[in-house]
Amino acid sequence: MAIPRQPMPEQPPEVRRHNFDEVPLGYTEELAIREAQRCLQCKKPACVDGCPVNVAIPQFIEKIVERDFEGALQIILGTNSLPAICGRVCPQETQCEKYCVLAKRGDPVAIGRLERFVADHVRIRLMRGEKAPLPPTAPPPGAPKVAIVGSGPAGLTCAADLLNAGYNVTLFEALHEPGGVLVYGIPEFRLPKAIVKAEIQALVRRGLQIVTNAVIGRLYTIDDLLNEEGYAAVFIGTGAGTPKFLKIPGENLNGVYSANEFLTRVNLMKAYLPDAETPIVRGKRVAVFGAGNTAMDAARTALRIGAEEVYIMYRRSRAEMPARAEEIHHAEEEGVKFEFLVNPVAFYGNERGWLQSVRCERMQLGEPDDSGRRRPVRIAGSEFDTPINVAIVAVGTESNPLIRQTTPDLQVNQWGYIVTDDMGRTSKPRVYAGGDIVTGAATVIEAMGAGKRAARAIISDLQGKG
């Protein structure tokens, strides 16, 4: 009889909605091997084409069956330098697992969970001292210097590939902690910060230099890096950092947050810890606007810092929600309430400027729009008020102006995102870009793919010169 897809042990919803510990607990060795045995080892594996960085999926899964977890990790690391992170946050259901042949007649192989298992297994052995870390390495003397701006998945991946190729890489990060969205956005219960730290630390051992508190565009311009600081090339991976608001009355009331601010206070600044110094408004009734991963993260975080009622309010219907399936599922299990086809029109506050309620109108789905999704249209006279004391706006981001304003010869599109060719080359010689600052808000793995392509372009362009 065929082995069914192995479920992942998880913290029960009633328990986890009150803590910041990771929700899925990970496969045991036995579960991982059973799941790995489900793989048919296809000759033409469709899953690999579904993966933006083409991880050698059947090969690493075969190593798991053989109990060679180290070997499995080496295969993954050949194309993906952040497997513990990807195994947790990639939308596998629209990538590798979507194309798995088993998905045609049942459940696909749990590729993401296996990837996570392999990375965790080796990391835990390193942590416990059961395995010696690789000796630290440094770039060869005289290696060309490359600067990376922004330490999100795009920057880290580009850095890793350049280190592999023997370059001298320095990463500049505006915040006091490297990791980008992985540290300030995605919460601890979904991606423990110790894991991000360990993955970055591994790069530092391989010679990566990290300069935190370095706001490029102000401290150094891109031209300063190229001309005064002696970098042969610069990669820009600054993300889609600037939050969009709803542009409705009352949006600046106290208690209305962008998801970025709310999550940064909790994740980067650790406002959820009892002795944290950064404050946060802990609402009892919270409304989150939007339905992407950011909205799910904000809603689940609000629950964990003490909210009694949390609503996700979304303009469209359930089918259009852009978040990962697992996040939506987890949010529902934890008691987040979903209100579909509602659109906020105004926030109301008290005389001291504190949020008290939101007015929404109901929508219905009309004709499909440019994105192919049916456009929500308002239903006249359907307004209703909901009392809330915290609102979190998670309706997307736009491009950050800092680098664009100080690099006039860098071509950007009408939304301010950097224009590049397929390999990440910008309009400015020796300057490359990738990740959300090129595509607009996307995914971790797509940002990583862009970082990889740019590294390849940098290597080939610099060699062409040398």
């Binding site: 401290l219 939050p243 106290n254 962008s258 940064t264 110094e277 609402g283 003490g306 001291r352 400027g353």
Partner: protein, 279 residues
Amino acid sequence: MPNKILEKEYLAENVVSMWIEARQIAKKRQPGQFLILRPGERSERIPLTIADVRAKEGAVRLIVQVVGKTTRDLAALEAGEYVRDVAGPLGHPTPIKHYGTVACVGGGIGVAPLLPIARAMKEAGNYVVSIIGARTKGLLILEEDMRAISDELLITTDDGSYVRHGLVTDVLRERLTGKPGIDFAVAIGPVPMMKAVANLTREAGIATIASLNTIMIDGTGMCGGCRVTVGGRVKYTCVDGPEFDAHEVDFDELQRRLNMYRDHELHQLEACKIGLAVR
């Protein structure tokens, strides 16, 4: 990378001046810009104006009023110790040029960010009329520094303990009719002061900028926590400011947002009733 404190002195009770090593910031900084700092590993990130620089030494000067936990922790550090994180220079520089006669109006700790702007205005050939004030004599800071770069220096104290009794706006109102006539004004200080200055100069038709000290986290345009309404449009103080057209700023909203965490204890009391809690 921690930054070393080179010098430290008290300018008034609860007002401390520090020179901090930050070579590249000192090289790049222009008047009007600020930085974001964390004294220690667990601290909040707070914005502070760069009051002065010594480019050769690679040092920046910060003038800090102790108002809460973070500023207290910073002020407790001594020369030779380190500040955990310093990021900058941030914000747009002040639009320094030859306007003619410039009124530089500063209240309380606002005199610290005003000093480098007034100095740059003077260097750009303006006739500088500085009006500085404080609640009481002991809280007046940088009098001699301001005198050195001003053509006229007018001083007030709210309680009359030094020079003139009254508010900076009382002095400004009188000076507006004096000679040489004021062509441009800069206001930095408590929100009610900046609002009052803006109201006076609006009537008099004098272009005025105010430098806003909002709550910030990242200082890079990533969180939107520093947003203000200027001319009916939302602006991010950290990347669009910190200076804005004083006649267009919604000062009342700014004050309410500044109180967001400041009055949270009071608020917490009320919160019990309406079921809201603030940490």
